[in-house]
Symmetry: C2
Subunit: 167 residues, 2 copies
């Protein structure tokens, strides 16, 4: 292990690469426009009410619409979704055109939900706070669609990975 | 995929099992006592300042000491650490005795850091808020020790897993 070093931007970025995370696409929609972004900064919070925390950069294209609608759908990606994860983190192809109608079906709320993800969680943003360049959204889950038999897509050290149970 | 259903406690628990997460042990220490707990509710927040979000149940043994010291060490576990993850989530064996001196070396701050984890991030809690039974801690990283060549331990669907890069 390296010796203890005071944190620097480089060391912190290295550290974050070492935190494995399930890959999600968080979506929102308003006035016929749909937006979404790939992220791993999603974690469970409370069972009662059923909440998760989602951290979104205020510069992200979908951020302002999420704040305006107070509604997002958190989609957990499956291991077959590497291209979709890349599409929703692309800087060149943005906006509603990312949503292939064959792959996405709206929740009753109107939020875009991926048909073949492990979970599509339709959420209301019930609290928000600001830290640095990011908003921290506390998201209360209102409705769900699940595919519990699927395998997840995980991001670690700048690579997409699948899981292997430890015997 | 299942049809859309309004959320219930059961459906929400099922959903959370489908979110893969890197396994961490978050530790703290005060007056010679050391506490720690296994968790996956850790996610990155901002690069500037370098922060992560950590969500801790207020009933967790380490919660009150974390609030009192405003200091925690977030340790990212390696795939060899299944037994350690189980030890720090055990309800029968608690307290300082969990910390084998051969495996743990304090950071300069006094926070217990795992020698063989992927990362030991020594943090100050700079903000806290309450949601349901949990505290949401915004943790600013002050110092780090890294083992970037290690493989992470991941939790998914009540199993410990290791990663396999997708070719």
């Amino acid at each position: 292990m390296t010796n203890e070093t005071p944190i620097s931007a480089d060391i912190f970025k290295q550290s974050l690469r070492l935190l494995a995370g399930g890959v999600c696409i968080c979506t929102t929609a308003m006035n016929g426009e749909r937006l979404g972004l790939t992220m791993t900064a999603v974690c469970s919070l409370t069972l009662e009410p059923p909440t998760l925390v989602v951290c979104v950069n205020r510069d992200a294209g979908a951020h302002d619409m999420m704040r305006a609608t107070k509604r997002i759908c958190i989609n957990f990606l499956a291991s077959e979704h590497v291209e979709l994860a890349e599409l929703f983190s692309s800087t060149s192809f943005k906006g509603s055109g990312r949503f292939d109608p064959a792959k996405w079906t709206d929740m009753k709320s109107g939020m875009p939900a991926l048909n073949a993800g492990l979970a599509a969680l339709d959420c209301s943003i019930i609290e928000e706070s600001t830290v640095g360049a990011h908003s921290v959204f506390v998201c209360e889950v209102k409705a769900a669609r699940l595919n519990p038999e699927k395998e997840p897509l995980v991001h670690f050290n700048r690579e997409f990975c699948e899981l292997l149970p430890i015997a």
